[in-house]
Symmetry: C2
Subunit: 367 residues, 2 copies
């Protein structure tokens, strides 16, 4: 029997032994007194955010934290994936050291996936590890990147190449923050929500199809259910494979094609979620060509991705360019391209595919 | 019953659950076929070393590794604590990424504490963690820094501020490598050996006193015993407190004074072990002033430290300067200076001390 916390609509436990924690989902959680109870004490809380999110939420969160921690600081980083690098990470370290923050400091990530990844990695490394809390403010980070403990920065030679598996103390998915998101970013987040259906839960895919307009419109009840079910599915996968030994790869359904789109166009041209949206259709198409699912599954996913406001086909890059970028994707070990595919709706498999079939998919699913 | 491995004189297990590993000690272990057996397979081994150690041992180690791994690379970093920074760490990442090293790469640290700390931290972060092996080539790293999983780089505002707890797969203490060490570095390593007596093992302190000349002369039998017993004591402490929750602090006996010496003179003026040597005497002196040990313990330690070729008193900095540097030491939480002291020989305690007594120690134990 799970205790009810005022203002918290859903709680998802992430079972990872002594690194276990909860994802709390609800409206206005960022400043809910009840939701923040029970966290360990700290000498300082340092909020890490960016220039876009800070004006919207930093003051409100810091005021709330001042009731809980003796000292509250705020570090504002430049916005965007292009700043997910050592220079920005070092801005966090500079601040922590200049302010003499000790090992009893807690970092609080306030923002989307880039802020969460960088804050988590800073927490993993600062004095060999201080605790951190996630307050994801985008749909994509609420349903995906803030859960599971993958933290990282980019290197000029590759995305997310320098990082750590490091779990937060708690994740606060305050769905009120989603209302300040541009529509394009809501759609991008929905790509990751849609992903969970084909790989793990056919009934959830049915539910998403029935509620996609409510999700696009950010209706609270629908969003809370979508975030909850997404986190539950991710939690089950992460609990079974914290360090990406194998199973966790299924969360990358659509991502091998998606990464090729991002890399081929130049990162930032399409949002990650947009590339994943088209990537889902392409991965379903390849699954169908391998005989793993009937062709109508591709039609169905294409329709849903389109209704979510996402591109349903990849951009017009050459097949060779796609293949090149898929080969250097870091999930590729020793040159092989392994794809996450679906073997019926609700079951993912990871396997290589013949290049001829991949080329057929690229011909069928790009503009 | 521990299996005997050819060429291995001693084996020290480090019990850390699924992160457990062994320290192997012996002559010529670096290229012992038997000692390297049983490590997990890898697509590449990347040796990380520096400009001083590379000409002595890199070729020999790489040739040995080529018999075990399909591909062997070597990264040579600039030498010295002043290069224990992000720029050098990034040289490792640049190399790994330029060579398309995947998650099945193993890093091999060949060198002293700086190389071990940096290689371990690079391994902790590269693609969120690849395995690594320690081949410490200094006495200090064999008896201290290569055991226990503390890895880090320095930040302009503090030493070892950015790092991780990350355990190696195995540690190879090849005592043959110590013969290329300058005498000053042998003495520096002996400071850490001596440390283990007062904090944990009165009989080991007796043994060190009886064999200090053999140790200074690097006689194999004595060195093997000293490395083994040092690693055993460190292993017991680390197993009980991997992440420095409390007990592990006793390993810093002499280090609070020592760090103040290093910081006050400018890092690199005295070797770390030299500062610890004088720091041991000062910490014993403070313990005596607090009534925890009789005064003759100070005389005894001072004599031993001197016979090891180490300074027995701190440099002539002002007491205020010592106190300033001790206060900013990162082991000081929220402003308190806590000292590791001895409560009789063989038992360490961690506690604050009245400033007046600390000033008496500084007056008595500095030049």
């Amino acid at each position: 029997m799970v205790e009810v916390i005022e203002g918290v609509s859903a709680r998802v436990p992430i079972a990872l032994g002594d690194r276990s924690y909860e994802v709390l989902i609800g409206e206005g959680l960022m400043t809910s007194e009840a939701a923040w109870r029970g966290l360990p004490s700290a000498t300082s809380a340092v909020v890490v955010t960016n220039t876009v999110v800070a004006p919207l939420y930093a003051e409100r969160l810091c005021a709330h934290l001042r009731q809980r921690y003796p000292r509250v600081e705020c570090v504002v980083l430049p916005d965007g994936e292009s700043h997910k690098d050592w220079a920005s990470l070092n801005l966090i370290f500079d601040h922590l050291l200049a302010e003499h923050c000790d090992r009893k400091t807690v970092l609080v990530a306030l923002g989307g996936g880039v802020i969460g990844d960088m804050t988590g990695f800073a927490a993993a490394c600062y004095m060999r590890g201080v605790p951190f809390i996630q307050v994801p403010t985008t749909l994509l980070s609420q349903v995906d990147s803030s859960v599971g403990g993958k933290t990282a920065i980019n290197h000029p030679l590759g995305k997310n190449m320098i990082g750590a598996f490091y779990q937060p103390l708690r994740v606060f998915c305050d769905i009120a923050t989603l209302r300040t998101l541009p529509a394009r970013e809501v759609s991008a987040g929905l790509a990751e929500v849609i992903k969970y259906g084909p790989i793990a839960d056919a009934a959830f895919l049915d539910w998403i199809e029935a509620h996609i307009e409510d999700l696009v419109a950010l209706k609270a009840e629908a969003v809370i259910h979508a975030v909850r079910r997404s986190c539950e599915i991710k939690a089950a996968v992460v609990s079974a494979d914290e360090r990406e030994g194998g199973l966790r790869a299924i969360l990358n359904f659509g991502h091998t094609f998606g990464h090729a789109i991002e890399a081929g166009l130049g990162f930032g041209t399409w949002l990650h979620g947009e590339a994943v949206g088209a990537g889902l259709v392409m991965a379903a198409d390849l699954s169908a060509r391998l005989g793993l699912v009937p062709g109508d599954v591709v039609t169905r996913l294409r329709g849903l991705v389109g209704r979510a406001g996402l591109p349903v086909a990849g951009p017009a890059l050459s097949a060779d360019e796609y293949l090149h970028h898929m080969r250097v994707d870091k999930k590729a070990e020793a040159g092989d391209i392994r794809f996450v595919l679906i073997d019926g709706i609700g079951k993912a498999v990871v396997r290589p595919a013949p290049e001829a079939l991949v080329r057929e998919t690229l011909a069928a699913c790009t503009a």
